[in-house]
Amino acid sequence: MSMRTPLSKVRGLGSAKSGTEHFWHQRLTAIANIPLVIFLAWFCVSKVGADRAEMAEALANPLVALMLVFTIISITWHMRLGMQVVIEDYIHGEGSKLICLLGNTFFSLAVALTGLFAVLKISFGG
């Protein structure tokens, strides 16, 4: 015997209403990240120790700047989802869990926006 209402069964969202979206976004960004991390690793290694003019020259290429924009968006979204799971697994206190989840969102957003701002600023001419 099920205690769920017929409407709840039809909607099929479960009690949290959002698990499928988390799962799906994790996979979506995972697939996008496969080529993007190769680019990211290559970019970092090819520019480690470079001077500022070389960095500016690389980012002046719109393809490089766009790839960095894609990479930063996809990775920061993916890492926020991943860290959320880790927090939910290991932080058991309701209060500390809430604080960690808030911090996770702020941290991921800060990394994303700082990275995007920096890329666009350099790409648009320093």
């Binding site: 991390v37 190769i38 690793a41 290559w42 970092c44 090819s46 500022r52 209060g95 890329v119 350099i122």
Partner: protein, 131 residues
Amino acid sequence: MAKSPMKERPLSPHLSIYKPMLTMTMSIVHRITGMGLYFGMALFVWWLFSAAHSQSYFDFVQGFIGSWFGRLALFGFTWALVHHALGGMRHLLWDTGRGFDLVKIEWMARATIAGSVILTLLIWIAAYAAR
């Protein structure tokens, strides 16, 4: 937030009761590389930000990242990227319901370790050759 009436209930036994196995270690490494990359991305963005900020600040950050220690950390970062990506590809395969038999699981775990080292080295060689 209202405090939910939680009772102290027994939790299922965790890592400590299992004999360590390769696949289990790979699962743990996947999580650890994920968390390392989480903070590594902050360093990456710090580096980009310094280039957007000023010459002097960029020289300071690039001096740190360009040092032997910085390059070693960058090698770790790129290896973690590749390892986590290959580990993630195994998960994507498992999502389709394939690759669960023990021989394949063991084989894929070994391929991930070897592949992560080889691919990382290839990326470093390609990036240094293109400089």
